[in-house]
Symmetry: C2
Subunit: 459 residues, 2 copies
């Protein structure tokens, strides 16, 4: 009776047209002039947003799915032709285009920093160029969300967090992938049913205020819900008067014990959550309902969770919605996908304020005696530095080198990575000093060489 | 050779499982107790974000598509069964569930304000509850983006704006729907190819820095691109040295004139855009290339566009990316979908700081003698106030009352609405005083009546 995964709606809209028009304009120019040597592009964050001491890399699984299934359908090609901007020989070449290149990347769940490549593409120029937009769209978003969610996890000190934010996520894929990225970062699960179905993430759900409002009597609403979800009765108690509702829960719990239906939790969603939690905890405990836990939600983020727990509020778990799902304080990263080598020669751009480092890169990470991250060095991929190299082979000639880690394995890696953070980086405020990332002399040397050879400095 | 629209990848992932798990938990409880009287829910923003003087309603077309196609597939139902939380009779009822209710809404492109319903659902309780999450997910996001994009349009004083932001949009649907919402708000087009294919939005595209870098010579890169896109040759000139590149463009334009290939524009993407634009304009004009326009991009938003134009920078058009596509300064709205009536009786919640107005509502808008918006009154739907009622019938018994306006018609409405804004609301800063929205006495009276009857105030 269980469906095959393929029978469910796809998580991602993977049309080959989901790209910037300019990728196709450039590809036609390359096609006309015959340019298609091996190109190397790297995707990397530049400076981290304020109050981000680290990022958590995420989205690789969706990038691999995209690259290994990429192709233009006849309908896609017909639309391109209808624009009047593309020639038949080029459209025929597009019809045959598949991704045949190599990918090296940070495994999902790896902690990373500014100027460190998260992913490297090595492929014929046209393929490597075409995939820019969607690759960034996937890696950027999940890295934004996993990094935000990791801060929530650090703030929660082991208390379970549930993703509540589909309704204010930026569309369907944002809702599904923010459920995935937050679970990867250590959330316990999501309220989004389809994310449970697609990614096998634990799903959670209580009730809305409308459920209480639709009944003429609050206790009657509680009882109807508990009987309908006999092992998952979490009751929302702030619709009218939170403490009065808590008292009703105590009385209902006694009655339902006769039916062997436990009330598992109450949810608070408004007002002074710490104050309500203390009063409700007292009412529940006095009423012999010590086993009913308190779940809090409502405009929460990592700063509010930290403050609630610091105040000693007896809250057992949190629903985190909008502010995590849109990464409200930092909804985007300064990041880029840049050509670093073409036809065997290093390349860089030197645009003001946006200059990039040329060459294929690797990141080496050193750990201290206690196993905490100590420093990173970014150097050329064929050099060695002390420490562990972080980018690993993912695709070779368009095929997986080995199966990607499962989402649960990526989640376990993320947990280990967060544990290995130096204490100052676990703070929700800016760490002083920030984590040290060194650009190796080899990169400085290559940059100078590229500048001399490719584009002489103007007098 | 043109594809049928259905042959393209869908714009939205419309699985019935794209909802919060709690909707399904509540539905099962309603199913067990037989509750399914007519419910009325309204979606409305509460307070507007800082520096938003108005919102632009958007997303109705996707909501209608969702409601009129909603159904659970066998795979969806099998997954629900696999969770162990749902009974067979309920799953059978879900299999038969379709949306059979009424929708009244603001037409897309309507200017609106806090506490004004954007959409009202009148339907059997279970249907009206189930659709909450996805309905909010669609209306919230497009309204966020259209409202941000409208600010950019006001700042640009008639100069064309192009959506550049797919790469840092929050996933695929966010990229596609932000292209749609920004076009609706008055953008001239988008860089996202699939948005062009799905929504018939004009698409634009130039080249990336990598195109220049991959060539050994910048002029050679410019020439190759121009010959490949002979009527759309917009050249990116900031990869190495902007003014030196502008000089190359002047010389190339002379040579290409012999081939009847015009260079249409140059693009600036870094540094002091105003300063570069002035220098480049001078170089182009001196070189006899007065017809080449200057296009600017790079971390732009409405504030930067306003400042650039105020400085007199000779920029003809702008590419607006990330900061518009994620609505960086206000990536979410305080908004809700709330039960306002059930089984013929008004309902409200009174949670602290989140109390709502009961009853089916209508918004009446008055205009001054010059045709500018003067004030709004929110009252019960069966009352009348001076002015024009804003919510219109969209669905009756699950079917369209009449075809929805086309995207271009919605865009024309938005243009008219922006023209009808009082001058102070067109400012990018907070308007003083804000636009007046009055809650009619009828709503105060109903709220008091609901409070007395449904839930007596605790002593």
């Amino acid at each position: 009776m269980l469906p095959s995964p393929g029978a469910l709606q796809p998580a991602t809209v993977a049309s080959a047209l989901l790209t910037d028009f300019y990728e196709l304009a450039m590809l036609q120019a390359y096609h006309r002039t015959g340019m298609n040597e091996t190109a190397v592009f790297e995707f990397f964050p530049r400076e981290l947003p304020a109050r981000r001491n680290f990022l958590l890399a995420a989205g690789l699984a969706q990038v691999v799915e995209y690259l290994t299934t990429l192709q233009f359908t006849p309908a896609d090609l017909a639309w391109l032709e209808s624009t009047g901007r593309f020639e038949q020989p080029f459209l025929q070449a597009l019809a045959a285009l598949r991704f045949t290149g190599d990918v090296d990347a940070l495994p999902e769940g790896t902690v990373c920093f500014g100027n460190e490549p998260i992913l490297r593409i090595t492929a014929p120029l046209r393929e490597a160029q075409l995939v820019e937009t969607r690759l960034m769209n996937l890696l950027h978003f999940q890295t934004v969300i996993a990094s935000k969610a990791a801060r929530c996890v650090l703030a929660a000190r082991g208390k379970p967090l549930i993703d509540f934010g589909l309704r204010r996520s930026h569309g369907s894929e944002a809702g599904l992938l923010s459920a995935r990225a937050s679970y990867l970062a250590g959330f316990a699960g999501t309220a989004t049913a389809q994310a449970g179905a697609l990614f096998d993430i634990p799903t959670f759900g209580t009730m809305a205020h409308s459920f209480i409002q639709a009944h003429d009597d609050e206790t009657q609403a509680f009882a109807a819900f508990a009987r309908s979800q006999p092992r998952h009765a979490a009751l929302l108690i702030d619709t009218y008067d939170t403490e009065a509702a808590a008292q009703k829960v105590v009385e209902l719990a006694r009655r339902l014990r006769a039916e062997s239906i436990p009330i598992t939790a109450v949810r608070l969603d408004s007002g002074d959550l710490a104050d309500h939690a203390r009063k409700v905890r007292h009412i529940l405990d006095e009423g012999g309902a010590k086993d009913i836990t308190i779940f809090a939600s409502g405009n929460l983020d990592e700063l509010r969770v930290e403050a609630l727990l610091a105040s000693g509020a007896p809250i057992d778990a949190f629903g985190i919605g909008t502010r995590m799902n849109v990464a409200a304080d930092a909804p985007f990263l300064d990041c880029a996908y840049k050509l670093v080598e073409y036809a065997g020669r290093g390349r860089r751009k030197r645009s003001e304020g946006k200059a990039t480092w040329p060459g294929r890169k690797q990141v080496f990470r050193r750990f201290d005696a206690a196993g905490k991250m100590a420093s990173d060095t970014v150097t050329l991929a064929d050099r060695h530095e002390p420490g562990t190299p972080l980018l690993v082979p993912v695709l070779r000639a368009g095929r997986l080198v080995e199966s990607l880690p499962s989402l649960d394995a990526a989640r376990a890696l993320a947990r280990n990575q967060l544990e290995a953070l130096p204490l100052r980086l676990k703070s929700l405020q800016s760490a002083t000093p920030p984590y040290p990332v060194t650009i190796a002399p080899a990169l400085h040397e290559l940059a100078a060489e590229v500048d001399r050879s490719v584009m002489p400095v103007r007098e």
